[in-house]
Point group: C2
Chain length 178, copies 2
């Protein structure tokens, strides 16, 4: 989940604030679908500290005994300053560079369908799915993609899902048992 | 989205508090998938007023001009005190009683698959999908179901999605274009 660089409603590159429910909801979805790790990317050290504080509350603090299911989800969160740090860590852990799949509600030139995404997941190389906060991933992130996933369509012209909903739906389309 | 009667982690019946992001996220998903209306059920008048205030901000207030897409989503929200009021209104509007489909992550005796749900949606009778806040719908709500939808499975034993994520995934399984 990328907080920088993302764009605002006018297309300007910004750093978005971390939202607590993005941490919870996407961690719970990641755990439900058996994802390897959930990386939260922000260059702001105070925001990194906020994420660490929330994770700590639920993993080691009061939340851990109050709600063990939530603990299990939030242990999946890893905080990084940049996308490059994520790619470096994954490349070291997996001994191969991950395939980067970018997501966007406004992707005009997508080159990966959901069937294609499931096929890709049968490869040996790990997948790194990128989601943008605010109004979505900045062009320089989109440019680093190996694949550009098709937008989610619900049969309407309107498609303005929250990033929490979009991440849940994309994980379900990739890994869900219907 | 039912805030009463729902159960807490110990299975006791409670009234859950309204969460602003439940309003936003589920409204945006409802609009994306072309749902007729999004009913928010709470018997607490102060909570009903809170929902009205949030909706008003985005539909008529500053939010409407700041973010017209959000406006379009939040116009779908209807506040009711009880499930019965929802069923009565829908029955009057649609001139037929809706088919009630309940959802739960812990449904041991489900009788409706996702293929079955899509088939059901081809009927003339409207569908009313019920989602519970807190630890889920109370037994007396489950007992009013015409159908009990199978839990979402992600290939893991763990399935503790937020109600926001679960609603998004279920709408996508029902109406999404893969």
């Amino acid at each position: 989940l990328i907080h920088h660089p993302v764009v605002d409603k006018n297309g300007q590159t910004i750093t978005a604030a971390v939202t607590a429910l993005d941490l919870h909801d996407i961690a719970r979805a990641a755990r439900t679908y058996g994802i390897g790790a959930y990386y939260v990317v922000t260059p702001l050290t105070d925001q990194q500290a906020l994420v660490a504080e929330i994770v700590d509350h639920w993993v080691s603090g009061f939340g851990a005994s109050y709600n063990p299911d939530r603990r299990e989800a939030l242990t999946m969160i890893r905080v990084k300053s940049t996308l490059e740090e994520v790619v470096t860590e994954l490349s070291q852990n997996e001994e191969v560079k991950p395939q980067i799949v970018v997501t966007s509600a406004r992707m005009a030139d997508s080159d990966l369908s959901y069937a294609g995404l499931r096929d890709l997941n049968r490869d040996q190389r790990p997948l790194l799915l990128l989601f943008g906060t605010a109004w979505g991933l900045a062009p320089e992130v989109l440019a680093q993609a190996d694949y550009r996933l098709a937008p989610i369509r619900g049969g309407e012209v309107y498609n303005h899902l929250s990033v929490r909903s979009a991440a849940a739906i994309i994980l379900d389309r990739l890994l869900g048992e219907a």
